[in-house]
Amino acid sequence: MSKIHVSTTVNGDATEYLCEPTSSLLDVLRDTMGLTGSKEGCGSGDCGACTVVLDGEMVCSCLVLAAEAEGRTVATIEGVAEGSVLHPVQQKFLEHAALQCGFCTPGFIVAAKALLDRNPNPTETEVRYWLAGNLCRCTGYDKIVRAVLDAAAELRQERTPA
Amino acid sequence: MVRIVVMPPFDKEFFGEFINDGRLDLAPHNLFDLVEKLEALAPGFAAIAPARVHFAVDGVLETDWTRELAQAQEVIVLPRVGGG
Protein backbone atom coordinates (compact mmCIF):
# COMPACT_ATOMS: atom_id res chain seq x y z
CA MET A 1 0.00 0.00 0.00
CA SER A 2 1.40 3.33 -0.92
CA LYS A 3 1.76 6.12 1.56
CA ILE A 4 -0.85 8.75 2.09
CA HIS A 5 -0.15 12.43 1.65
CA VAL A 6 -1.54 14.62 4.42
CA SER A 7 -1.69 18.39 4.70
CA THR A 8 -2.35 19.65 8.18
CA THR A 9 -1.45 22.37 10.64
CA VAL A 10 0.79 21.59 13.58
CA ASN A 11 1.36 24.24 16.23
CA GLY A 12 0.23 26.88 13.79
CA ASP A 13 2.51 25.82 10.96
CA ALA A 14 1.13 24.39 7.73
CA THR A 15 2.72 20.96 7.39
CA GLU A 16 2.71 18.10 4.96
CA TYR A 17 3.75 14.55 5.50
CA LEU A 18 3.54 11.07 4.01
CA CYS A 19 2.28 8.33 6.28
CA GLU A 20 1.36 4.69 6.27
CA PRO A 21 -2.42 4.15 6.36
CA THR A 22 -2.07 2.53 9.78
CA SER A 23 0.40 5.01 11.27
CA SER A 24 -0.88 6.89 14.26
CA LEU A 25 -0.68 10.64 14.53
CA LEU A 26 1.76 10.03 17.39
CA ASP A 27 4.03 7.97 15.14
CA VAL A 28 4.15 10.78 12.61
CA LEU A 29 4.65 13.52 15.17
CA ARG A 30 7.52 11.64 16.77
CA ASP A 31 9.20 9.79 13.95
CA THR A 32 8.45 11.88 10.87
CA MET A 33 8.27 15.39 12.29
CA GLY A 34 10.72 14.91 15.17
CA LEU A 35 8.25 16.29 17.69
CA THR A 36 9.17 13.81 20.44
CA GLY A 37 7.60 15.81 23.26
CA SER A 38 4.46 13.71 22.94
CA LYS A 39 5.31 10.35 24.49
CA GLU A 40 4.09 6.83 23.94
CA GLY A 41 3.51 5.20 27.30
CA CYS A 42 0.98 2.58 26.27
CA GLY A 43 -0.21 2.91 22.68
CA SER A 44 -3.76 2.16 23.81
CA GLY A 45 -5.12 5.44 25.13
CA ASP A 46 -4.70 4.45 28.76
CA CYS A 47 -1.87 6.74 29.92
CA GLY A 48 -2.37 10.12 28.24
CA ALA A 49 1.36 10.73 27.69
CA CYS A 50 0.64 11.37 24.00
CA THR A 51 -2.09 13.94 24.60
CA VAL A 52 -2.42 16.58 21.88
CA VAL A 53 -5.19 18.97 20.95
CA LEU A 54 -6.91 18.10 17.67
CA ASP A 55 -9.29 20.74 16.34
CA GLY A 56 -9.63 22.18 19.81
CA GLU A 57 -10.23 18.94 21.71
CA MET A 58 -7.61 16.99 23.58
CA VAL A 59 -7.10 13.45 22.35
CA CYS A 60 -4.63 10.62 22.66
CA SER A 61 -2.56 10.96 19.51
CA CYS A 62 -1.80 7.22 19.65
CA LEU A 63 -5.51 6.67 18.94
CA VAL A 64 -5.69 8.97 15.93
CA LEU A 65 -4.63 7.74 12.52
CA ALA A 66 -2.16 10.10 10.94
CA ALA A 67 -4.30 10.12 7.81
CA GLU A 68 -7.25 11.51 9.78
CA ALA A 69 -5.36 14.75 10.41
CA GLU A 70 -5.88 15.94 6.81
CA GLY A 71 -7.05 19.54 6.95
CA ARG A 72 -7.19 19.63 10.73
CA THR A 73 -5.17 21.52 13.30
CA VAL A 74 -2.94 19.83 15.83
CA ALA A 75 -1.39 21.42 18.91
CA THR A 76 1.35 19.62 20.80
CA ILE A 77 3.46 20.28 23.88
CA GLU A 78 6.03 21.93 21.64
CA GLY A 79 3.56 24.71 20.92
CA VAL A 80 2.43 25.44 24.47
CA ALA A 81 5.12 28.00 25.31
CA GLU A 82 5.16 31.21 23.32
CA GLY A 83 8.71 31.20 22.09
CA SER A 84 10.82 31.06 25.20
CA VAL A 85 8.03 32.32 27.45
CA LEU A 86 6.49 29.46 29.35
CA HIS A 87 2.74 29.11 29.68
CA PRO A 88 1.58 29.55 33.31
CA VAL A 89 0.83 25.84 33.52
CA GLN A 90 4.44 25.06 32.57
CA GLN A 91 5.77 27.65 34.97
CA LYS A 92 3.66 26.32 37.83
CA PHE A 93 4.76 22.75 37.14
CA LEU A 94 8.33 23.94 37.65
CA GLU A 95 7.59 26.02 40.74
CA HIS A 96 5.59 23.27 42.42
CA ALA A 97 8.04 20.49 41.46
CA ALA A 98 5.08 18.79 39.83
CA LEU A 99 7.34 16.47 37.88
CA GLN A 100 9.89 13.91 38.92
CA CYS A 101 10.92 11.83 35.92
CA GLY A 102 9.04 14.18 33.59
CA PHE A 103 7.93 11.56 31.07
CA CYS A 104 4.21 12.07 31.68
CA THR A 105 4.66 15.84 32.01
CA PRO A 106 3.99 16.92 28.39
CA GLY A 107 0.69 15.04 28.39
CA PHE A 108 -0.32 16.54 31.71
CA ILE A 109 0.55 20.05 30.59
CA VAL A 110 -1.39 19.78 27.34
CA ALA A 111 -4.36 18.32 29.24
CA ALA A 112 -4.21 20.88 32.03
CA LYS A 113 -4.02 23.75 29.56
CA ALA A 114 -7.01 22.31 27.73
CA LEU A 115 -8.93 22.30 31.01
CA LEU A 116 -8.02 25.87 31.94
CA ASP A 117 -8.81 27.08 28.44
CA ARG A 118 -12.45 26.13 29.05
CA ASN A 119 -12.76 26.23 32.82
CA PRO A 120 -10.75 29.01 34.42
CA ASN A 121 -11.80 28.10 37.95
CA PRO A 122 -11.89 24.35 38.37
CA THR A 123 -12.29 22.66 41.73
CA GLU A 124 -9.73 20.12 42.92
CA THR A 125 -12.19 17.36 42.07
CA GLU A 126 -12.69 18.72 38.56
CA VAL A 127 -8.93 18.85 38.04
CA ARG A 128 -8.52 15.29 39.29
CA TYR A 129 -11.26 13.88 37.05
CA TRP A 130 -10.12 15.87 34.03
CA LEU A 131 -6.58 14.55 34.47
CA ALA A 132 -7.67 10.97 35.19
CA GLY A 133 -6.65 9.99 31.68
CA ASN A 134 -3.04 10.94 32.39
CA LEU A 135 -1.05 8.45 34.40
CA CYS A 136 1.79 9.62 36.60
CA ARG A 137 3.71 7.02 38.59
CA CYS A 138 6.16 9.35 40.35
CA THR A 139 4.27 12.11 42.11
CA GLY A 140 1.06 10.69 43.54
CA TYR A 141 -0.56 13.62 41.66
CA ASP A 142 -0.50 15.94 44.70
CA LYS A 143 1.92 18.52 43.33
CA ILE A 144 0.44 18.24 39.83
CA VAL A 145 -3.02 19.12 41.08
CA ARG A 146 -1.63 21.98 43.14
CA ALA A 147 0.30 23.30 40.14
CA VAL A 148 -2.82 23.25 37.95
CA LEU A 149 -4.94 24.98 40.58
CA ASP A 150 -2.25 27.61 41.05
CA ALA A 151 -1.90 28.11 37.30
CA ALA A 152 -5.66 28.60 37.12
CA ALA A 153 -5.48 31.28 39.80
CA GLU A 154 -2.68 33.03 37.98
CA LEU A 155 -4.51 32.91 34.67
CA ARG A 156 -7.62 34.36 36.30
CA GLN A 157 -5.55 37.22 37.63
CA GLU A 158 -4.02 37.84 34.22
CA ARG A 159 -7.45 37.92 32.65
CA THR A 160 -8.87 40.41 35.15
CA PRO A 161 -6.29 43.15 35.54
CA ALA A 162 -6.66 45.08 38.79
CA MET B 1 41.62 -13.56 66.86
CA VAL B 2 38.54 -11.90 65.42
CA ARG B 3 35.14 -13.41 66.04
CA ILE B 4 33.52 -14.07 62.64
CA VAL B 5 29.74 -14.41 62.81
CA VAL B 6 28.28 -15.77 59.57
CA MET B 7 24.63 -14.91 59.05
CA PRO B 8 22.15 -16.83 56.93
CA PRO B 9 22.08 -17.90 54.22
CA PHE B 10 25.88 -18.04 54.10
CA ASP B 11 26.26 -20.03 57.31
CA LYS B 12 24.52 -23.04 55.85
CA GLU B 13 25.35 -22.32 52.24
CA PHE B 14 29.12 -22.35 52.86
CA PHE B 15 30.36 -22.85 56.38
CA GLY B 16 28.02 -25.22 58.19
CA GLU B 17 30.68 -27.67 59.33
CA PHE B 18 33.14 -24.99 60.44
CA ILE B 19 30.85 -22.94 62.62
CA ASN B 20 31.00 -23.55 66.39
CA ASP B 21 28.65 -21.69 68.72
CA GLY B 22 27.58 -19.58 65.79
CA ARG B 23 31.11 -18.30 65.12
CA LEU B 24 34.41 -18.84 63.44
CA ASP B 25 37.66 -17.61 64.92
CA LEU B 26 40.14 -16.30 62.40
CA ALA B 27 42.93 -13.75 62.34
CA PRO B 28 42.48 -11.80 59.11
CA HIS B 29 44.43 -8.55 58.78
CA ASN B 30 41.71 -6.96 56.69
CA LEU B 31 38.46 -7.89 54.94
CA PHE B 32 40.15 -8.95 51.71
CA ASP B 33 42.24 -11.31 53.81
CA LEU B 34 39.09 -12.52 55.52
CA VAL B 35 37.50 -13.33 52.18
CA GLU B 36 40.60 -15.31 51.25
CA LYS B 37 40.52 -17.21 54.53
CA LEU B 38 36.81 -17.94 54.14
CA GLU B 39 37.40 -19.04 50.55
CA ALA B 40 39.99 -21.52 51.83
CA LEU B 41 37.33 -23.01 54.08
CA ALA B 42 34.54 -22.93 51.53
CA PRO B 43 35.60 -22.64 47.91
CA GLY B 44 33.14 -20.50 45.98
CA PHE B 45 32.60 -17.93 48.71
CA ALA B 46 35.04 -15.42 47.24
CA ALA B 47 33.26 -15.48 43.91
CA ILE B 48 29.90 -14.49 45.36
CA ALA B 49 31.15 -12.22 48.14
CA PRO B 50 31.36 -8.94 46.19
CA ALA B 51 27.83 -9.32 44.91
CA ARG B 52 26.02 -10.90 47.81
CA VAL B 53 27.89 -10.14 51.04
CA HIS B 54 28.14 -7.22 53.41
CA PHE B 55 30.56 -7.11 56.32
CA ALA B 56 29.91 -5.34 59.58
CA VAL B 57 32.97 -4.61 61.71
CA ASP B 58 32.08 -4.15 65.37
CA GLY B 59 28.52 -3.35 64.52
CA VAL B 60 29.08 -0.98 61.59
CA LEU B 61 28.72 -1.92 57.94
CA GLU B 62 32.06 -1.57 56.20
CA THR B 63 32.32 -1.31 52.44
CA ASP B 64 36.09 -0.70 52.45
CA TRP B 65 37.66 -4.12 52.53
CA THR B 66 41.14 -2.73 53.14
CA ARG B 67 39.93 -1.79 56.59
CA GLU B 68 42.49 -3.05 59.15
CA LEU B 69 41.08 -5.61 61.54
CA ALA B 70 43.92 -5.63 64.08
CA GLN B 71 41.78 -3.87 66.66
CA ALA B 72 38.45 -5.44 65.67
CA GLN B 73 36.52 -7.74 67.97
CA GLU B 74 33.86 -9.04 65.64
CA VAL B 75 33.02 -9.21 61.94
CA ILE B 76 29.50 -10.14 60.91
CA VAL B 77 29.06 -11.64 57.45
CA LEU B 78 25.55 -10.80 56.34
CA PRO B 79 23.54 -10.71 53.13
CA ARG B 80 23.75 -7.61 51.05
CA VAL B 81 20.33 -6.07 50.55
CA GLY B 82 19.55 -4.53 47.22
CA GLY B 83 17.51 -1.39 46.77
CA GLY B 84 15.31 -0.16 44.01
Binding site: P21, T22, G43, T51, V64, L65, A67, E68, A132 | -
Partner: protein, 289 residues
Protein backbone atom coordinates in the same frame (compact mmCIF):
# COMPACT_ATOMS: atom_id res chain seq x y z
CA UNK C 1 1.46 -8.64 6.51
CA UNK C 2 -1.67 -7.56 4.61
CA UNK C 3 -1.72 -3.83 4.20
CA UNK C 4 -4.61 -1.66 5.21
CA UNK C 5 -6.14 1.03 3.02
CA UNK C 6 -7.47 4.27 4.44
CA UNK C 7 -10.53 5.97 2.99
CA UNK C 8 -12.40 9.05 4.08
CA UNK C 9 -15.55 9.13 1.91
CA UNK C 10 -17.91 12.12 1.75
CA UNK C 11 -21.16 10.22 1.42
CA UNK C 12 -22.95 7.33 3.04
CA UNK C 13 -23.18 5.65 -0.35
CA UNK C 14 -19.43 5.77 -0.85
CA UNK C 15 -18.86 4.44 2.63
CA UNK C 16 -21.23 1.54 1.99
CA UNK C 17 -19.51 0.81 -1.28
CA UNK C 18 -16.09 0.77 0.33
CA UNK C 19 -17.27 -1.44 3.17
CA UNK C 20 -19.08 -3.78 0.80
CA UNK C 21 -16.04 -4.16 -1.38
CA UNK C 22 -14.00 -5.76 1.38
CA UNK C 23 -15.63 -7.87 4.08
CA UNK C 24 -12.68 -7.16 6.40
CA UNK C 25 -13.06 -3.39 6.03
CA UNK C 26 -14.03 -1.52 9.17
CA UNK C 27 -15.76 1.80 9.68
CA UNK C 28 -13.79 4.31 11.72
CA UNK C 29 -15.62 6.61 14.10
CA UNK C 30 -13.57 7.63 17.09
CA UNK C 31 -11.13 4.78 16.66
CA UNK C 32 -10.63 4.23 20.36
CA UNK C 33 -11.38 0.52 20.03
CA UNK C 34 -10.52 -0.06 16.37
CA UNK C 35 -7.07 1.52 16.44
CA UNK C 36 -6.14 -0.26 19.68
CA UNK C 37 -7.14 -3.57 18.11
CA UNK C 38 -5.20 -2.82 14.95
CA UNK C 39 -2.07 -1.82 16.84
CA UNK C 40 -2.15 -4.89 19.03
CA UNK C 41 -2.47 -7.09 15.95
CA UNK C 42 -5.86 -8.48 16.99
CA UNK C 43 -7.41 -6.97 13.90
CA UNK C 44 -5.96 -6.38 10.42
CA UNK C 45 -8.73 -4.86 8.35
CA UNK C 46 -8.22 -4.58 4.61
CA UNK C 47 -9.52 -1.05 4.76
CA UNK C 48 -10.45 1.58 7.29
CA UNK C 49 -13.35 3.79 6.27
CA UNK C 50 -13.40 7.07 8.18
CA UNK C 51 -17.01 8.20 8.60
CA UNK C 52 -16.24 11.62 10.02
CA UNK C 53 -16.13 13.46 6.68
CA UNK C 54 -19.68 12.41 5.81
CA UNK C 55 -22.13 15.22 6.32
CA UNK C 56 -24.48 14.69 9.22
CA UNK C 57 -22.37 11.97 10.72
CA UNK C 58 -21.14 14.20 13.53
CA UNK C 59 -23.45 16.08 15.83
CA UNK C 60 -26.84 15.93 17.53
CA UNK C 61 -30.00 17.19 15.91
CA UNK C 62 -33.69 17.18 16.76
CA UNK C 63 -36.48 15.80 14.61
CA UNK C 64 -40.17 15.19 15.18
CA UNK C 65 -39.58 11.97 17.05
CA UNK C 66 -36.66 12.96 19.22
CA UNK C 67 -32.91 13.13 18.92
CA UNK C 68 -30.70 12.00 16.06
CA UNK C 69 -27.10 11.40 17.02
CA UNK C 70 -24.65 10.98 14.17
CA UNK C 71 -22.53 7.87 14.42
CA UNK C 72 -19.29 9.83 14.56
CA UNK C 73 -20.40 12.15 17.36
CA UNK C 74 -17.86 11.99 20.18
CA UNK C 75 -19.22 11.34 23.66
CA UNK C 76 -18.15 14.70 25.05
CA UNK C 77 -20.14 16.47 22.33
CA UNK C 78 -23.30 14.96 23.78
CA UNK C 79 -22.78 17.00 26.93
CA UNK C 80 -22.80 20.19 24.89
CA UNK C 81 -26.37 19.58 23.71
CA UNK C 82 -28.49 20.99 26.54
CA UNK C 83 -31.73 19.53 25.25
CA UNK C 84 -30.25 16.06 25.04
CA UNK C 85 -28.79 16.36 28.53
CA UNK C 86 -32.16 17.49 29.86
CA UNK C 87 -34.01 14.66 28.14
CA UNK C 88 -31.59 11.74 28.58
CA UNK C 89 -29.07 12.57 31.30
CA UNK C 90 -28.48 8.88 31.97
CA UNK C 91 -27.44 8.24 28.38
CA UNK C 92 -25.15 11.26 28.31
CA UNK C 93 -23.58 10.32 31.63
CA UNK C 94 -23.09 6.73 30.56
CA UNK C 95 -21.32 7.81 27.39
CA UNK C 96 -19.16 10.09 29.48
CA UNK C 97 -17.93 7.34 31.75
CA UNK C 98 -16.06 5.68 28.90
CA UNK C 99 -12.27 5.95 29.24
CA UNK C 100 -10.89 9.41 29.89
CA UNK C 101 -11.67 12.88 28.57
CA UNK C 102 -9.10 12.26 25.81
CA UNK C 103 -10.86 9.04 24.87
CA UNK C 104 -14.36 10.56 25.07
CA UNK C 105 -13.32 13.38 22.79
CA UNK C 106 -13.00 10.68 20.13
CA UNK C 107 -15.09 7.73 21.23
CA UNK C 108 -18.65 7.47 19.95
CA UNK C 109 -21.73 5.66 21.20
CA UNK C 110 -22.06 3.93 17.85
CA UNK C 111 -18.54 2.61 18.19
CA UNK C 112 -19.18 1.61 21.77
CA UNK C 113 -22.20 -0.34 20.52
CA UNK C 114 -20.53 -1.95 17.51
CA UNK C 115 -17.44 -2.98 19.45
CA UNK C 116 -20.00 -5.33 21.02
CA UNK C 117 -18.39 -5.53 24.42
CA UNK C 118 -20.85 -6.72 27.06
CA UNK C 119 -19.33 -4.08 29.35
CA UNK C 120 -19.91 -1.10 27.03
CA UNK C 121 -21.06 1.76 29.24
CA UNK C 122 -23.36 3.62 26.89
CA UNK C 123 -25.26 0.57 25.70
CA UNK C 124 -27.35 -0.32 28.79
CA UNK C 125 -28.40 3.31 29.00
CA UNK C 126 -29.35 3.37 25.30
CA UNK C 127 -31.26 0.11 25.58
CA UNK C 128 -33.12 1.35 28.63
CA UNK C 129 -33.97 4.54 26.75
CA UNK C 130 -35.37 2.55 23.87
CA UNK C 131 -32.84 3.88 21.40
CA UNK C 132 -32.84 2.73 17.81
CA UNK C 133 -29.99 2.55 15.30
CA UNK C 134 -30.22 3.60 11.73
CA UNK C 135 -28.07 1.14 9.83
CA UNK C 136 -26.80 2.05 6.39
CA UNK C 137 -26.01 -0.75 3.99
CA UNK C 138 -26.08 -1.97 0.42
CA UNK C 139 -29.87 -2.14 0.48
CA UNK C 140 -30.34 1.31 1.95
CA UNK C 141 -31.25 2.33 5.47
CA UNK C 142 -32.91 0.17 8.10
CA UNK C 143 -33.81 0.73 11.72
CA UNK C 144 -32.75 -1.70 14.42
CA UNK C 145 -33.28 -1.54 18.17
CA UNK C 146 -29.95 -0.96 19.89
CA UNK C 147 -30.18 -4.23 21.81
CA UNK C 148 -30.36 -6.16 18.54
CA UNK C 149 -26.95 -4.99 17.33
CA UNK C 150 -24.52 -6.91 19.58
CA UNK C 151 -24.99 -10.68 19.43
CA UNK C 152 -21.90 -11.93 21.24
CA UNK C 153 -18.68 -10.44 22.59
CA UNK C 154 -17.08 -8.69 19.62
CA UNK C 155 -19.84 -9.74 17.19
CA UNK C 156 -22.74 -7.74 15.80
CA UNK C 157 -25.79 -8.51 13.70
CA UNK C 158 -24.63 -6.08 11.01
CA UNK C 159 -24.21 -7.59 7.58
CA UNK C 160 -21.24 -7.05 5.32
CA UNK C 161 -21.19 -3.50 4.04
CA UNK C 162 -23.43 -2.22 6.82
CA UNK C 163 -22.59 0.34 9.44
CA UNK C 164 -24.47 2.25 12.10
CA UNK C 165 -25.07 5.73 10.74
CA UNK C 166 -27.26 7.21 13.46
CA UNK C 167 -28.55 6.54 16.90
CA UNK C 168 -32.05 7.82 17.54
CA UNK C 169 -33.48 8.56 20.94
CA UNK C 170 -37.14 9.32 21.46
CA UNK C 171 -38.25 12.64 22.90
CA UNK C 172 -38.37 12.63 26.65
CA UNK C 173 -41.71 11.20 27.74
CA UNK C 174 -43.68 13.25 30.23
CA UNK C 175 -42.73 12.07 33.68
CA UNK C 176 -39.73 10.22 32.32
CA UNK C 177 -36.28 9.89 33.84
CA UNK C 178 -33.21 7.81 33.18
CA UNK C 179 -29.93 6.92 34.83
CA UNK C 180 -26.89 4.73 34.40
CA UNK C 181 -24.49 3.51 37.07
CA UNK C 182 -21.55 1.21 36.86
CA UNK C 183 -19.13 -0.43 39.24
CA UNK C 184 -15.42 -0.10 38.57
CA UNK C 185 -12.43 -0.52 40.88
CA UNK C 186 -10.99 2.83 39.80
CA UNK C 187 -12.93 6.07 39.70
CA UNK C 188 -12.08 6.65 36.03
CA UNK C 189 -10.25 4.87 33.21
CA UNK C 190 -11.91 1.57 33.81
CA UNK C 191 -14.20 -1.03 32.33
CA UNK C 192 -17.53 -1.71 33.97
CA UNK C 193 -17.55 -4.75 36.23
CA UNK C 194 -21.31 -4.32 36.12
CA UNK C 195 -23.41 -1.57 34.57
CA UNK C 196 -27.10 -0.81 35.02
CA UNK C 197 -29.20 1.49 32.85
CA UNK C 198 -32.72 2.48 33.82
CA UNK C 199 -35.42 4.47 32.10
CA UNK C 200 -38.84 4.88 33.64
CA UNK C 201 -41.98 6.99 33.57
CA UNK C 202 -43.96 8.11 36.58
CA UNK C 203 -47.50 9.44 36.47
CA UNK C 204 -48.66 12.43 38.43
CA UNK C 205 -49.25 10.27 41.47
CA UNK C 206 -45.72 8.90 41.41
CA UNK C 207 -46.82 5.53 40.13
CA UNK C 208 -44.47 3.92 37.65
CA UNK C 209 -46.22 3.43 34.33
CA UNK C 210 -43.32 1.98 32.39
CA UNK C 211 -39.75 0.94 33.12
CA UNK C 212 -36.88 -0.50 31.14
CA UNK C 213 -33.82 -1.87 32.89
CA UNK C 214 -30.73 -3.04 31.02
CA UNK C 215 -27.55 -4.54 32.40
CA UNK C 216 -23.96 -4.59 31.21
CA UNK C 217 -21.21 -7.14 31.90
CA UNK C 218 -23.51 -9.80 33.32
CA UNK C 219 -23.78 -11.85 30.15
CA UNK C 220 -22.34 -12.15 26.64
CA UNK C 221 -24.28 -9.05 25.56
CA UNK C 222 -26.02 -6.20 27.27
CA UNK C 223 -29.37 -7.56 28.43
CA UNK C 224 -32.76 -5.89 28.70
CA UNK C 225 -34.43 -7.38 31.79
CA UNK C 226 -38.12 -7.07 31.10
CA UNK C 227 -39.10 -8.77 34.37
CA UNK C 228 -37.19 -6.14 36.29
CA UNK C 229 -39.05 -3.33 34.58
CA UNK C 230 -42.32 -5.15 35.06
CA UNK C 231 -41.64 -5.43 38.78
CA UNK C 232 -41.77 -1.66 39.02
CA UNK C 233 -44.76 -0.90 36.81
CA UNK C 234 -47.84 -0.11 38.84
CA UNK C 235 -45.87 0.54 42.00
CA UNK C 236 -44.68 3.70 43.70
CA UNK C 237 -41.18 2.24 43.81
CA UNK C 238 -41.63 1.14 47.38
CA UNK C 239 -39.11 -1.14 49.04
CA UNK C 240 -40.96 -4.28 48.06
CA UNK C 241 -41.04 -3.24 44.42
CA UNK C 242 -37.37 -2.36 44.46
CA UNK C 243 -36.56 -5.69 46.09
CA UNK C 244 -38.56 -7.54 43.46
CA UNK C 245 -36.80 -5.54 40.75
CA UNK C 246 -33.36 -6.34 42.21
CA UNK C 247 -34.28 -9.99 42.44
CA UNK C 248 -35.33 -10.03 38.80
CA UNK C 249 -32.11 -8.31 37.82
CA UNK C 250 -30.03 -10.86 39.69
CA UNK C 251 -32.00 -13.72 38.21
CA UNK C 252 -31.30 -12.38 34.72
CA UNK C 253 -27.60 -11.99 35.42
CA UNK C 254 -25.44 -14.72 34.07
CA UNK C 255 -21.93 -13.31 34.38
CA UNK C 256 -18.52 -14.92 34.21
CA UNK C 257 -15.53 -14.89 36.54
CA UNK C 258 -12.75 -12.88 34.93
CA UNK C 259 -9.98 -10.45 35.67
CA UNK C 260 -12.51 -7.72 36.34
CA UNK C 261 -14.86 -9.43 38.76
CA UNK C 262 -16.39 -12.58 40.13
CA UNK C 263 -19.78 -14.11 39.35
CA UNK C 264 -21.12 -13.57 42.85
CA UNK C 265 -19.95 -9.98 43.03
CA UNK C 266 -21.37 -9.15 39.63
CA UNK C 267 -24.74 -10.62 40.49
CA UNK C 268 -24.83 -8.75 43.77
CA UNK C 269 -23.79 -5.48 42.15
CA UNK C 270 -26.37 -5.80 39.39
CA UNK C 271 -29.05 -5.66 42.04
CA UNK C 272 -27.48 -2.83 43.99
CA UNK C 273 -26.70 -0.66 40.98
CA UNK C 274 -30.09 -1.22 39.37
CA UNK C 275 -31.82 -0.15 42.58
CA UNK C 276 -29.64 2.95 42.92
CA UNK C 277 -30.17 3.80 39.25
CA UNK C 278 -33.94 3.40 39.62
CA UNK C 279 -33.94 5.89 42.47
CA UNK C 280 -31.91 8.41 40.47
CA UNK C 281 -34.14 7.96 37.44
CA UNK C 282 -37.21 8.35 39.62
CA UNK C 283 -35.92 11.57 41.09
CA UNK C 284 -35.23 12.83 37.58
CA UNK C 285 -38.76 11.82 36.68
CA UNK C 286 -39.99 14.12 39.37
CA UNK C 287 -40.60 11.70 42.21
CA UNK C 288 -40.67 13.27 45.66
CA UNK C 289 -37.78 12.03 47.70
Amino acid sequence: MPSTAFHAPDTVEDAVALLSADPTARPLGGGTDLIVQMRSGRLSPGAVVDLKRIEGMSGVRRDDEGFVIGAATPCTALKADAALVAAWPGVVEAANLIGSVQVRNRATMAGNLCNASPAADSVPALVAAGAVCVVAGPSGLREVPVEAVPVAPGKTSLASGEFVAEIRLPAKPAGGGDAYLRSTPRTEMDIAVVGAGVSLVLDGEGTCTSARIALGAVGPTVVLVEEAGAALVGTKLDDDALAAMSKAVQAASNPIDDKRGTVSYRKAMAGVLARRAVLIAASRAGAKA
